[in-house]
Symmetry: C2
Subunit: 497 residues, 2 copies
């Protein structure tokens, strides 16, 4: 690097005309500038810095950074599902199909996937919509999940994680200028992919607030309010729902879903249901209902008309395979010409990663009771989901023992989104609390502002993914931190709770 | 499906108000509508239909569709590089690290990659820019490739194939309205990802024509012409170069690259060099020169100022691993604040597929001469590149024996882009020739219009990827077809050649 430094001096000495940068903050695409994505924002960058510092021997009041900022199961110690990885390894290196160390059901899955790939290789592009036989397996899975509601594999599209599908569908729906610009209804709090995509596409974000006092339930009156208000300045075209909720962890009731679908029917809205946490339901009183199944049960007038895109992923559930970037969407009642346009749009990116498609296939087509891998698979799956249920409950319980923190039940998904009550004098510091927490305890959370919250309220999102022991430590540290924080302000005023 | 049909009848009978579709061709995002992507366009759809028909016993004048429309090596029979797949399999199923069937160098690579992954799992999200140690390996590779020109791994970003990186960089550069709207200079003929992305972002496409009479060389005077003309109606901000060329197969000379970089320096343009075919150079007179190395050799005033993004991929070269969607970009001289914005933009999509990152790592970090896998790796790599060189030459030679076809040398990449001379009376049918060819011979090519061509000229793109035997058959069928086609018009006029 000495050479480079020397060069730089040379230039600054030359006093000649310096070439200006062509790309600066002034000339950057303003839509890119407008994008916000807190899940990987400044707090997380800081956490990475501290982590590197610890490795290099820097002293901190803790020995480890606990990253509870992102739903990254394997990074938090969850082990991969053996069967899934066996199938992916077999697909990656088919010579292993002759090896006796792999069970027959894994080999059968791998052979089927490879037969669907050009040249029987995971290295070929798939069709833009994904590998045919994987789309077929997904359709069968959906029919079984939804107790016989028909699923057509022609409506299934493999995606690069769920995010990719969500962005593709939104992209189709954004048009118009000024008051006829497309409006996108999203829950608040929301997963910031939605607000980021809306910013990037210059669509209009329409907030509907979830009801924190009612376990973050979706309130149909609030939907109407948000819709009517938005109609004054944009053209509401699509409603997004996240069920189970991220960051809010609620599981929607069938009645609530019916109301949403009826509303979408009446107002001619496109429905996008983000169902990536469909396998993550912990509360015994709750059950996952797919938007599709509820739509079906509302009768043909609904099922044959309402445009519905639903999304799933390899990243969550019990497999937690985020790195594979696998996912799919099912799109119902899409206009046939528009469907061709969607395929065209997807084809520009060629295809979703084929190993992610293979991972998705295993998730929708797991070992059956009579197959050799069933017992181990079932054991691993139950262990993951059991531990998550336990941690969901523990998180809620411990957080609710802390004065100034109130946490709704974590009915599903992978997060708690507790409200923190802060003395008025401390409000200005509220944005810094997460940073302070990180620096004092090594715990990395995301401030509620990254997901949206009602004005004057403060929250944070934390995952329930650390191991039970680590999560307990985290929650206790969090409690102590918050109590200490409140004490510093206690002389001035009692917390509002 | 009976039930569904029955429902539809019920609705049509009810005569009630039918819910209209919210998303139709009239309400679709017009930027999506404007996108074109011929590599997977209607000809390819038709080819798929015919293929399925053949499988179901339909009769055609051929027994097999040969898809020469897309650079999909494995689908055309190329075998994966063993070492690469061993590493990916080991990463996917680390229990194999204890198995004696894998060589030590593959295990060492896999261990290193896994150590860079959260929880040592391919299933964790990586950092948005990619796994640190893979970025480091890429920087070392670039330094070696460029004979010591320094590479900083902080400038390396893993991507989901090269396409993803290209779209991300373009997205940052698009801004302004009307005459200040960003203009993007692209070669014609081009790879249609560029025109598709430009349409989608409503940027202004600035065509500079490659010189067909000079082996598709880039002509600096043509660059100036295109730039000056564009300045009247937009703000030219970026120049894209594809070297070796797709679809044109030329390899740019060092002098030409110098001229382009000087031009970009003078006109303050951001440079995007698509170098995904850097390992695919066949002509003994040609050599791949990276834009970065040439920039370095032009001196510090250039190397420390010109903003340059260069792209590479797992999909091409000798590995042909398209399905893994691996790739990287190196971005030089990016403004520091803009760099943070780029990372933010990438973070919304979380990370590139980690198995694709692993594949990329093997390509930049292959077995060394003293390692156990070296001999086999070297043999496989040479066999692939040797066969491609042979097929490149054969394609040019056979095509140039056909009256009415003129093909430049395929110096590099994976395609021939021959010009076809068509009698004036046949011009109206020119667009249908590819379809006719497909229906009569089973050969699937992409018409030149999908890549852009000078008005009044006609071309097609074909890959050189079929096996040597199959490619020979393809070329002979093509010859016979074209001769027959010309004969039908011969009575009217001699071909213009």
């Amino acid at each position: 690097h000495n050479f480079a430094t020397c060069w730089r001096i040379q230039i600054s000495r030359s006093n000649g005309k310096m070439r200006e940068k062509s790309l600066t903050m002034d000339t950057l695409n303003p839509q890119v500038k407008a994008v916000e994505y807190a899940v990987r924002g400044p707090i997380v960058t800081k956490a990475g810095d501290i982590e590197r510092g610890l490795q290099q021997g820097q002293k901190h009041p803790f020995t480890e950074v606990i990253k509870a900022n992102i739903g990254d199961s394997h990074a938090m110690g969850q082990k991969p599902i053996t069967f899934l990885r066996q199938v992916v390894a077999l697909c990656s290196f088919p010579e292993l199909l002759d090896s006796s160390i792999f069970p027959d059901d894994a080999k059968q899955r791998a052979r089927r996937i490879l037969q669907g790939c050009g040249g029987q290789s995971l290295g070929s592009y798939s069709a833009s919509q994904g590998v045919d036989c994987i789309r077929q397996d997904i359709a069968v899975y959906i029919e079984q999940r939804d107790k016989g509601v028909p699923a057509d594999w022609d409506n299934i599209y493999l995606t690069t994680g769920a995010s990719d599908g969500i962005v593709s569908i939104l992209k189709m729906l954004v048009s118009g200028q000024g008051r006829s610009r497309s409006g996108v209804m999203i829950p608040i709090p929301q997963y910031p992919l939605y607000s980021a995509a809306i910013s990037e596409m210059e669509a209009v974000q329409i907030n509907y607030y979830l009801d924190e006092d009612n376990c973050w339930a979706l309130d149909i009156n609030e939907l109407h309010r948000a819709y009517q208000a938005a109609k004054e300045h944009c053209h509401p075209r699509v409603i997004c729902i996240i069920n189970p909720g991220n960051p809010t962890g609620q599981v929607q009731s069938k009645k609530c879903i019916e109301e949403v679908l009826h509303f979408a029917y009446e107002e001619n809205l496109f429905v996008m249901s983000d169902e990536v946490y469909q396998d993550n339901v912990y509360s015994p009183d709750c059950q996952f209902h797919s938007f599709k199944k509820v739509l079906y049960e509302m009768g043909p007038e609904y099922f044959n008309t309402v445009e519905l895109a639903s999304f799933h992923s390899t990243s969550k559930g019990y497999s937690g395979e985020c790195g594979f970037r696998g996912g799919y969407m099912e799109v119902l009642n899409l206009d046939l010409e528009v469907k061709a346009q969607l395929v065209k749009l997807l084809s520009v990116r060629l295809c979703p990663p084929v190993s992610g498609q293979a991972a998705m296939d295993v998730i929708v087509n797991p070992p059956l009771p009579h197959e050799p891998s069933y017992l181990q698979f079932h054991k691993e799956k139950s262990a993951v989901l059991g531990a998550l249920a336990e941690k969901a409950q523990m998180t809620e319980q411990i957080l609710n023992t802390v004065p100034g923190i109130k946490c709704n039940p974590v009915q599903g998904a992978m997060y708690a989104f507790p409200r923190i009550f802060i003395p008025p004098r401390a409000v200005e510091e509220a944005m810094c609390v997460s940073l302070l927490l990180l620096e004092e305890t090594g715990i990395c959370l995301v401030p509620g502002s990254g997901f949206g919250q009602r004005e004057g309220t403060y929250h944070f999102r934390m995952t329930i993914l650390p191991t039970t022991e680590k999560l307990k430590v985290l929650l206790e540290k969090l409690r102590d931190f918050h109590i200490k924080f409140l004490k510093e302000y206690a002389s001035l005023e009692e917390p509002k709770r």
